[in-house]
Symmetry: C2
Subunit: 237 residues, 2 copies
DNA sequence: CGTATTATTGACTCCATTCAAAGATAGTGG
DNA sequence: CCACTATCTTTGAATGGAGTCAATAATACG
């Protein structure tokens, strides 16, 4: 809360995520200016809320480590997982429009994160225009991801799941993690809530992929055995 | 193309959409500054492309009159209508992330529009920070709409269509049109491509709503007879 | 007026859901 | 450390909602 207490803050310079998080493409001067505006001490445990659906929009959050899910409760009381956030990704742009968040962000494991207070958005836009462009790009990224998801909801279960797995693989790879072996941050139930399937269907499809020697499944540990084969499920004409 | 040729431009001051388009909440000075950056002479006919999927990102487009559809062709060659744009709404933010548009924008009827060239985004952010915030809000609006759509794709056909109709009604009403009588800008086929249904199902559901005295359907002319009843289909617990 | 496009309607099929039951794993406290 | 419990996962069988296929009807347009 105390912005003057810089001793306990790690600047963007020192952050291992500097190339993939917000400061991508910024000059050193700009990164330093940005560091002053950003709070870097966020820490939460599994199940904790980063922000809640309906809360007043107050911050953009950059995930430094761990993963989170974005959950929306609809009019019927059903949970929808709009997206999964991985290290280096930003959350919260959905809250800007109506000044309150459209979904809850919930930690899927122990996480650390940075905070860009909402009050500073205009100030930053004026002082560091290139950050403004970066923020727009992240917004645009969110739009693209959402649109991709709209498209995938119209595919059969098999394609939804292969796309989900390869998307996770690609995003993890882009952030320096293994692309062929990773832990699912979600339960079968949650994957279903994300893809619009039942947990039973998710389980059956994972089994099917395993039978086809496309992946190996050991509870939440996924090993991609045939990335091309998996990709062809949703890519081939 | 000639930015110096201001004689043929209508400034935002004179635009009937001033309260609902970009300049919402700006001072007169800011609106004038913005007018200089915006090209206001866009005109296209039904079926014309405003921009194409894959084209380099070059502009944000504000629809002044008419309607447009945002179409994405997926890996299988299937068309998906990501959204319908109505007067006063902005298009193109999806192109910012990868520097090319993620979908094509196609006029559904004769349209007129304004253009905000992409090159000016940073300049505008610096010069008119409040515009920057407005643009972020529009981005956020797009994200919210996309997320709402993701949620609705998981609902049964009946709910998809009632939500689609009431969303259209609400958005038209917000822009000064009738909320209880309007023309569908899309064919049954296109509504299907938008909602993830077949044209036959769309036809059957419209018929069902008509039989329930919720709406009256006369080809593309929709009359809402019981808005509450229609809303309750997707709102009730 | 004739053709192409768009829309309606019916019968049948299939994919994913639902319902049900059992198995596996992780976490807790005695 | 083991038993106990809650949570998560797997698997099977039956059901149902939307898709597919097909034929006809209505409308728009040149």
């Amino acid at each position: 809360m105390d912005r003057t207490n810089k001793d306990f803050q790690v600047s963007c310079n020192n952050c291992k995520l500097d190339s993939i998080c917000l400061p991508r493409g910024l000059s050193l001067t700009e990164i330093n200016e940005l560091s002053i505006e950003v709070k870097t001490n966020g820490m939460l445990n599994k199940g904790d809320y980063i922000y809640r659906q309906g809360d007043p929009f107050s911050r953009i959050v950059a995930l430094k480590s761990g993963s989170a899910k974005l959950v929306n409760i609809d009019n019927h009381g059903n949970e929808h997982i709009l997206n999964v956030s991985l290290p280096g990704e930003l959350m919260g742009f959905d809250g800007l429009y109506q000044d309150h968040y459209n979904c809850s962000a919930i930690a899927l494991e122990k996480i650390s994160f940075c905070i860009l207070p909402a009050d500073n958005l205009e100030f930053i836009s004026k002082k560091i225009p290139s950050v403004s462009r970066e923020l727009f790009k992240h917004c645009s990224d969110t739009i693209n991801q959402a649109q991709q998801q709209i498209i995938s909801t119209k595919s059969p279960a098999e394609e939804k799941l292969s796309l989900f797995l390869m998307d996770l693989s690609d995003r993890l790879h882009a952030r320096g993690f293994s692309s062929h072996e990773f832990y699912l941050p979600l339960t079968r139930q949650e994957i279903g809530e994300h893809l619009g399937l039942t947990l039973e269907t998710v389980s059956r499809m994972l089994k099917q992929f395993q039978n086809q020697n496309l992946i190996s499944v050991e509870r939440k540990l996924i090993t991609i055995l045939d990335a091309d084969g998996l990709r062809s499920i949703h890519n081939e004409k």
